[in-house]
């Protein structure tokens, strides 16, 4: 490996470490775009494992951790003993034999710099220079009846750079070991050992079917190892007893295995394996990360805003209807108020007449609508009295309906409503509560009153004309009647009852006609005003209430964009480093230990 790539890699590990730290903090945060618990756990695990890998690499880039993996009784410990040429691990017929992992290491390796997990293992020192850069770890089984064993094994596996998968005639593709192989292939180098080769050979002539080593190879090719490194060994015959050199009776690949471990796995090969390991960790981290990164939310806001605007227009119109109906209940009180405020002051006979009518009307008013004694705050009182009449459960169900509809629209657009629902206003008081509604009704009643009291343009001209007529016409008619009376009394000298009735009818018709004219031109009737009132209230709701909902969309999008920044950046760093590693992998020659991509 060229030193240029070497320094490049070491340099970039720093930025990788920073990115991983950031990612760690991000993972611990609360998320608006929900992170599934499984993905969270997986990310956290991958992140930690990658950190461990990098730390290991930094501590000693050429030290290879080789873990022996296999079921009970396949001969892992015997194999380690044979490789170590001394009894370093317990081996026997009791199953399972190995209780806890054993680390076989060279004296020059600083144990305290190793992963804490390895430090907790049983350790055996050696001084064989040919195994200087290999850390051999014997592990407990994964298929026996003692469950803790597989937990211990699973804890150790992630820190392995390479795995020696040990199988026997019975167990070379047993389900538990195979599951682990499938899970870890590609993440670390795999070499395979078919131990107890003697058992495969014995009685061979008396059996049918394929030889286990060929069957094993085929299974491995199925699992993606095109050219797997398989050693057929009979480890027990290579154990040295009392220092004498062993005398093997069966031909096997044990010596090739030794040669491969000692010379084949040279410094360059070790680095290649380690870099491939780091590379695959980065790959899996990036894959999981890609799945959970929140999508770009800006387009989504646009879509939902469109939906919401329509929904709010409709929903708030329902509210306006509710408020108009509430005001309907006080229509007489409102009419009385408007009639006094709106028609202005009249004089003479018509004023007397109107006062009389007002008095009659007032008698008809229910006490709740009476605001005569409160001329200035009359509308405010009526507004609050009207809003109070809306039953609270109807108001609540209306609010619920609007909110549900908005949320359902968000749900249909793929918004994560479990977090988003906290953004949609739900409080009774703030947005559409009694207070807010009262205020809106009051404001718009006052608005209406102003429109009546201070007409503009043509309405103003009509108003002046009508007022003039009302003020002077009754007086003119009265004057005419007085003249007629004088004429009858002093010139004709006779006043008939029919004359009297005629005069009364005349004045009554005049006043009645004027009243009709007034009612037609000055809209103090609630049935005429309520449509205008509805328009005003609707507009006010749209202007004031709708933005309170719509602004939450932007806020949510804004927060999600911020939440997205960290993993996006981390992913960029990971992918940058991945490219560098891919270049150095191309130069390496350890492909046979890894499955094809």
């Amino acid at each position: 490996m060229s030193s240029a790539t070497e320094t490049g890699l070491l340099h970039s590990t720093h930025s990788l470490e920073l990115a991983l730290q950031e990612l760690g903090r991000w993972l611990r945060q609360d998320h608006l775009f929900p992170l599934p618990a499984t993905a969270h756990a997986k990310l956290e695990m991958l992140r930690e494992q990658l950190e461990i890998r990098i730390r290991q690499y930094q501590a000693d880039p050429s030290l290879l951790t080789v873990v022996l993996l296999g079921g009970t009784g396949v001969g892992k410990s015997t194999l380690l003993n044979a490789l170590a040429k001394s009894k370093v691990a317990e081996a026997g017929i009791v199953r399972p034999t190995t209780q806890r992992p054993t680390v076989y290491y060279h004296e020059s390796v600083d144990l305290s710099k190793l992963d804490p997990l390895l430090q907790q293992c049983a350790t055996v020192r050696h001084n064989r220079a040919e195994l200087r850069y290999k850390l051999l770890v014997d592990t407990p089984d994964m298929d026996g009846n003692i469950r803790e064993h597989r937990e211990r094994l699973k804890a150790i596996l992630p820190i392995a750079d390479a795995v020696l998968y040990v199988g026997s005639q019975e167990k070379y593709h047993d389900i538990e070991a195979w599951k682990l192989l499938l899970e870890h292939r590609g993440k670390r180098g795999f070499a395979f050992i078919l131990n107890k080769w003697d058992r495969c050979l014995s009685y061979q002539s008396e059996r049918t079917g394929e030889s286990p080593d060929r069957d094993f190879r085929r299974s491995l090719q199925h699992a993606g190892f095109d050219n797997p490194l398989v050693f057929r060994t009979c480890a027990s015959q290579w154990i040295s007893v009392n220092g004498t050199s062993p005398t093997p009776t069966i031909e096997d690949d044990f010596q090739q295995l030794e040669r491969w471990l000692e010379a084949g796995l040279n410094e360059r090969a070790v680095r290649d394996i380690k870099i491939r390991g780091i590379g695959s960790k980065i790959d899996s981290l990036a894959t999981v990360l890609k799945e959970v990164i929140p999508p770009d939310w800006s387009a989504k806001v646009y879509e939902l805003r469109h939906d919401w605007e329509a929904a709010l227009r409709e929903g708030l119109a329902d509210y306006a209807q509710l408020l108009v109906e509430a005001a309907d209940k006080h229509s007489l009180g409102l009419e009385e108020h408007f009639s006094r405020m709106g028609r202005g002051d009249f004089r003479g006979i018509f004023a007397l007449y109107l006062n009389f009518v007002d008095y009659l009307r007032h008698l008809r008013l229910s006490p709740v609508s009476q605001v005569k004694n409160l001329p200035h705050s009359g509308l405010a009182v009526l507004a609050s009295r009207a809003v109070v009449t809306i039953p609270s459960d109807i108001r609540r169900s209306q609010q619920q309906m609007l909110r549900s509809h908005l949320l359902a629209l968000a749900d249909r657009r793929g918004w994560p409503i479990e977090t988003f629902e906290h953004f949609v206003p739900a409080d009774e008081q703030g947005t559409l509560g009694e207070m807010a509604l009262t205020q809106i009704v009051q404001m718009e009643l006052m608005h209406l009153e102003q429109e009546i009291a201070e007409p503009a343009g043509q309405a103003f001209a009509t108003r002046v004309l009508v007022k003039g007529l009302c003020d002077w016409l009754p007086l003119a008619v009265l004057g005419f009647i007085v003249l007629m009376f004088l004429y009858d009394a002093f010139i004709v000298w006779e006043i008939t009852p029919s004359d009297l009735v005629g005069w009364v009818v005349l004045i009554a018709l005049t006043i009645f006609g004027l009243h009709l004219l007034l009612a037609k031109t000055v809209p103090i009737r609630w049935s005429v005003l309520r449509n205008r009132f509805r328009e005003l209230v609707e507009q006010r709701l749209l202007d004031e209430v709708a933005p309170r909902f719509l602004s939450r969309l932007d806020e949510f999008a804004h927060r999600i964009t911020a939440e997205r920044a960290v993993p996006v950046e981390a992913l960029e760093v990971l992918e940058g480093i991945r490219k560098q590693l891919a270049r150095s992998e191309e130069q390496g020659d350890q492909q046979s230990l890894f499955p094809r991509q």
């Binding site: 047993d174 389900i175 079917g209 286990p212 169900s397 409503i417 037609k520």
Partner: protein
Amino acid sequence: MATASATITSDSNPGVQYVRSLEELLSYYRVRGFEGTDLTEAELIFAVALARYRFAPPKSKLIDERLHVMVFGGAGSGKSTTVNILLGSEVAEVNAQAGYTRHPIAYFTSDETRPAVLWPEHLGPLSRSDAQAPANVDEDRFAWKQLTPPLSDPGFLRRHVVWDGPDLTAKDSTHYQKRVIEIAALAELTVYVASDERYNDELPTNFLQAMLSAGKWVVVVLTKVAEHDSEQFIQLFRDQVVSRLQHRERLVDVITIPMPPPGRFSEIWTDAFPYGTQLREMLENAGGDFLTCRRKARSAAAAYLHHQQARLLEPLRIDLGEWKSWSELIRNAANDAVKQYEAEYLSSVRYEAFEKAQDHILSLLQPAGVLQPLSQFLEIVRTPYRFLKSAWKRFLPALATEKLDEERCLDRVRRAMFDHLQIACSQRKHKHRLWKDLHQEFETRTASIIESSYQQARARQRLDLQQRTQSSVRQVLDTVEANSLLLNVLRTGRLLLDVFAVVLAVYIGYRTNWLLGLLLVPLGIGVAEDIVRMMAAKYMARQRTGLIHQQKENIRELIQVAYIDSLLQLPATMGRRLYSLANLEERLLRELAQAMAEGDAQA
């Protein structure tokens, strides 16, 4: 035996019912998946198969008349070798390739040679294969080999069927495990084969435990051990494995079959070694005579199934809980919808048909016959009053009440219900698979399902409501029209009111001023008519409440049909099934008890 087998296949047999119920559960779990539970498909398959062979076995000679011996164990532990030892001859293929055997094979002797008499077509999911094929054919089938004497002990093979099966531990075993399970359930007697490598492995030990719990007798054969280690090995097995097993009383014995000396491997199943005789004797003596053995096996199976039931039903129980809260959610939402409809629409509904009927009744009250000209005259006199009244109304309109649109109101109500349900599902979607599926369906097809069933039901109902309104109006009219006495009394009353008004007006005019009298006559009869109209309206309103109540019931029914019924079918994966599985627990208990009683009665 013949009578027993004749009754077994009938559908009314409680055993058959019990197996069917369990199969229903299995097929539900297969659709649902086993994630989130610690139950495995294998356990349920085993329960189904066990129930089948103990309470409703398929009819055939070998199933009826023989005890079945199953040899099981991990890959490469020497099952086929053990089978050969048991048979006393090299019949089963012995293979060094781990996981070679892929389907169960039965070995037996019999004078009967017709396959259709010997075997049923199927053993559960396994179909019978009569052709000779290698043991590694990877299909859901069972094979059989009829052996011909001479055999070292033909008597054993005339009373038993010996089964060799696939292993339990090789990497592909999950997909052929159910074949082993089927035969394991069939067998009354089993031989557990464990090698020096495997004897303390978890998977085979779990299977051993399952066999003991389910009431099988087990002989343990330890293989591949050196002869001088045999004693120590048996002790190790007893200490490490047997000591932790439950139902140990059915574990017959532990023996070893050591490695033969080199070159004598093919002699191991002959009389040169004592293992065959030893093994056969143990199996013959394990459960007693045929009938005792069968009876014990059946009651042990019943106890096992009874004990397992809670465990097998646990995932279903959880699903049913969620499903119940889903159905409650729907019902509550439906109730709210009806209430809202009532408040928004029904409280102020008007029926045009009723208004027309009211007019009709008023016209009926007009005097008929000789008095008709009089009433026509009164109508004419009334005209100015009417004119003034309508002018007044036109100038000063009363409070405008908007005409409510029922469809719009219903649409609002329905939308609110739909939104509410969708959100409720979305909020729970991480809690249980049911909600996740429901939520997904809300995004894809729920709306269209509901819409189509709603529109259909609504169209039907609108027609119905129209008819109902008409008939209810007709009923009102009929009570008045048909009853001539009542009609005449009413007509007379009305005429008297008019006459009284006229007389009063004329009297006032006579006493004061003739002009005033002239004005008062039309006013009087106008007011009189208003009084009559008001009374008629009161009467009609009373009749209407019945119709309103009916309409409310209609909407309730509409929502029941369009929403509750169709939503309860969701999600497509489990909704309908859950509906039919709601009372499975009681059903299973009852059927098991009945099956057991039936079996005892036959024995």
